[in-house]
């Protein structure tokens, strides 16, 4: 006799390689360029370097006096930067076990730091101060103060052009020019920035529950409405075709090919029951890894299926996800301090 059965996604588990834990909430995670190490930083200011294969903590650093906010591995070398709420970015060498350089970022909380793709430059943002440094930590430039706290920074893929967002303003910077190259006004509070890898679009998630696109060349803009909450998470796939956006427990994926996402129907991914906190596309593949406030981790192939391919659970809110350089492993960190590495199930990827 036919009956109604509630359809439940019984996705297979993502195989876990190892799991470790930090002393406080894990706030940021990144892979080394070689894929041999994983670095994670905590809200107490500790940074740990893990052997990617075994999960052994090979270095434990008291990186910051107060909390750490970011860890960012150099795109080629065995060094990484940590940013903290003590006003400093510190450069560390993974091999020599020690501090390379301490960068005074000019304000109490350094909330953002990012390497240019070629590895030549490191940008830091603390309060209203934006600075650019060489990979050895020599100051290249301190830009004029932003009108208010910098909310996000992002290097344009493959270039030395940097975009910064603060309330009301998007600005573009180059290391050789002391003033902004260009500025876009947008009245509102931006929470994140994402360049499409082809450099065509710059996109930001916003406090007012919208996602905004700029066609950078022309300055033309486009706005996506209707999100239930503020949107922090925005991520492009490597082909610059799909843009995944958060804001609530669903992930909304826009197809930006052709004439762009205007007037198109997005793909909506439903699985998480709590607000989605983080997600990332593979570096060179189409798999999206997402985490939510209740610790669920999901892998998706959004173009093919609106249901997760595989799932895993951590004991607390997911606070970061990162793909290994070869896209075969995904690291997830959580608010209880968990650091876990999963391998891609066979049928995924």
């Amino acid at each position: 006799m036919p009956g109604l059965i509630e359809r439940q996604s019984i996705a297979p588990a993502i195989p876990q390689m190892w799991r470790s834990s930090l002393d406080e909430s894990a706030v940021s995670v990144d892979w080394s360029a070689s894929g041999s190490w994983l670095a994670a930083a905590s809200a107490s200011g500790t940074a740990c370097v893990f052997d990617a294969a075994s999960g052994d903590c090979v270095q434990k650093l008291s990186a910051h006096r107060v909390g750490a906010t970011r860890v960012a591995w150099h795109p080629e070398d065995a060094r990484f930067a940590t940013a903290g709420q003590d006003g400093f970015v510190r450069l560390w060498d993974a091999r020599r076990d020690g501090l390379v350089k301490e960068l005074d970022c000019g304000a109490e909380w350094v909330e953002h730091t990012a390497w240019s793709d070629n590895g030549r430059l490191l940008a830091t943002a603390a309060g209203r101060k934006l600075k650019v440094w060489t990979k050895d930590g020599e100051l290249v430039r301190e830009y004029p103060d932003h009108p208010n706290t910098i909310a996000a920074i992002a290097w344009k893929t493959g270039t030395e052009e940097l975009a910064s967002a603060c309330y009301g303003r998007l600005q573009f910077w180059a290391p050789g020019t002391p003033e902004a190259l260009r500025a876009f006004s947008w009245k509102g509070s931006m929470l994140s920035l994402a360049w499409s890898p082809d450099g065509r679009y710059l996109c930001h998630g916003n406090q007012d529950s919208t996602v905004h696109f700029w066609i950078v060349k022309t300055g033309k803009e486009l706005q996506m409405w209707g999100y239930p909450t503020k949107v922090r998470e925005v991520a492009w796939d490597h082909r610059s075709r799909y843009l995944a956006t958060g804001g609530g427990s669903s992930i909304t994926v826009w197809d930006c090919s052709g004439k762009g996402p205007a007037n198109t129907k997005p793909i909506v991914l439903n699985f998480h029951r709590a607000p989605v906190t983080h997600f990332a596309y593979q570096r060179a593949g189409g798999v999206l890894a997402s985490g939510c406030d209740q610790g669920q981790l999901a892998l998706w192939k959004p173009r093919k299926r609106a249901e997760p391919d595989a799932i895993a659970v951590l004991p607390a809110a997911i606070t970061g996800v990162a793909w290994s350089p070869d896209d075969r492993l995904v690291a997830a960190i959580a608010q209880d301090g968990s650091v876990a590495v999963y391998s891609l199930p066979d049928r995924t990827g």
Binding site: E24, A43, E108, D208
Partner: protein
């Protein structure tokens, strides 16, 4: 289920301290930190005064006001708080309490709205209350022309009249009356060195719907058309009521017999006096005669000393109700035997004649509301006057609903839900608006029109 969930509210409480520079915010902050030293407390400080905050986790931040793209005032939030609190909430070891010290020039509106508009703030934090410190001596320099002072008073759940050692009790009474007329819902304490009991400033539940109407009923009392009354013993015969030069060209007056020189006896005739004052008045020039009873006199004073005859047939107690306070005119009552002194007297909250830009309007009406009409009225009200309504709260009796409906709001943000059943209690509506340029009559009439 919902009620249970609320009782176990795991959200971290946040108290906002406002007040001008020098009003004692940092002193209070340090007192709280000292007395609550076992707890994990984070402090966000927008103002850097002369006194340092004695605490490890102090985050200094400049105020950043974020308006949203659509320009709606209720979407104006504090970007610095969202950023910092969001960051603090990422920790595994959560805080027991968060204190936010704003600058003296801060508008509490965006601060409060931050906790209701941003979903992340709303799920993880609970705005417990706004505590406003007032420098009892120096506030007079600002209270008339500073929007910030008025807003900080209007938004407050708790007001500390601080530095009371620097003013006289009379000045303090005057200040408290003034503040009370602006914000009838706040709890007011008088302090020296910000020496308030911690219980009076923390866990006050100012935005808690369960406590939506813990408003002292005496502050919900009606407005009176007179400012003063006094009860005199008068012998039969003629007495003289004398006025010196005063600030007003005329004054309304009514005289009613009372049974005794007691508060209760006076109260028994107050409503009669209110009714009398609403009737047409009889003008009376200097030298004219006043008789006790059902006449509403309007004495012509014209900035000159004046004298009126009060003619008494039967000796007894008489209550004089006057539009203005007699002191303003050095008014005196003389019988043939000499000056007569009022045996009891009472001052009334003055009827606001738009002299106070920021005020409270309390409404208490029995009966049931028509839900549809009420929704319509409230939504129109918030659309048109939401900018000027700082806070509101109340308990409503909705027709057909067994439960009380409780609500509170900040500007255009309205937060309400059914509460406990009325059972045998008298079903009535009790609400209060605190805001700028509020039209008492219009609010009363508008609300009354929502009754079934």
């Amino acid at each position: 289920m919902e009620a249970v969930a609320r009782k176990n509210d795991a959200r971290v409480p946040v108290t906002v301290l406002t007040g001008f520079l020098g009003s004692g915010k940092t002193t209070l902050l340090n007192r709280i930190l000292t007395e609550e030293h076992g707890k994990r407390i984070a402090v966000i400080e927008n103002e850097f005064g002369e006194v340092g905050v004695d605490q490890e986790l102090v985050i200094g931040a400049e105020e950043e006001i974020f308006e949203m793209n659509n320009g709606c005032i209720c979407c104006t939030v504090r970007g610095d708080l969202i950023r910092i609190l969001g960051n603090l909430m990422k920790r595994r070891d959560q805080f027991d309490y968060i204190l936010v010290e704003t600058t003296g020039m801060a508008d509490p509106g965006p601060v409060a709205q931050t906790f209701f508009v941003d979903d992340e703030m709303q799920t993880k934090l609970r705005l417990d209350g706004i505590v406003t410190l007032i420098d009892a001596r120096h506030v007079w320099q600002h209270i008339d022309d500073s929007d910030e002072v008025k807003e900080q008073i209007a938004f407050a759940d708790v007001i500390l009249l601080n530095k009371i050692d620097l003013v006289t009790p009379a000045e303090l009474d005057k200040l408290e009356a003034r503040i009370r007329s602006m914000n009838a819902a706040a709890k007011i304490y008088r302090t020296q060195n910000a020496g308030a009991e911690i219980d009076t400033v923390l866990n006050v539940g100012g935005f808690n719907l369960d406590r939506a109407l813990e408003v002292d009923p005496k502050f919900m009392e009606p407005e009176y058309p007179f400012e003063w009354s006094g009860v005199y013993w008068l012998n039969a015969g003629s007495s003289k009521l004398r006025f010196d030069i005063g600030p007003d060209p005329s004054m309304s007056l009514a005289v009613l017999p009372v049974e005794a020189p007691t508060r209760e006896a006076l109260q028994a005739v107050e409503m009669d006096a209110v009714l009398l004052f609403s009737e047409e008045s009889r003008r009376l020039a200097s030298g004219g005669g006043i008789a006790p009873g059902r006449t509403h006199y309007e004495l012509t004073l014209d900035g000159k000393p004046t004298e009126f005859e009060v003619d008494i047939l039967h000796a007894g107690y008489y209550a004089f109700f006057t539009e203005h306070r007699p002191e303003e005119f050095q008014a005196e009552l003389h019988s043939q035997a000499g000056p007569v002194v009022a045996e009891i007297r009472r001052e009334y909250k003055p009827d606001h004649e738009h002299d106070e830009e920021v005020s409270s309007v309390g409404i208490t009406i029995s009966g049931d509301l028509d839900k549809r009409k009420f929704n319509q009225w409230m939504s129109t009200l918030l659309q048109t006057q939401g900018t000027d309504i700082f806070r509101m709260k109340g308990v409503l009796s909705l027709k057909g609903e067994a439960d009380r409906f409780v609500f509170q709001g900040v500007h255009m943000l309205f937060d309400g839900r059914p509460d406990r059943p009325w059972k045998n209690a008298e079903r009535r509506n009790q609400l209060i608006f605190i805001g700028r340029n509020l039209d008492r009559n219009q609010l009363n009439e508008g609300f009354r029109s929502c009754l079934v």
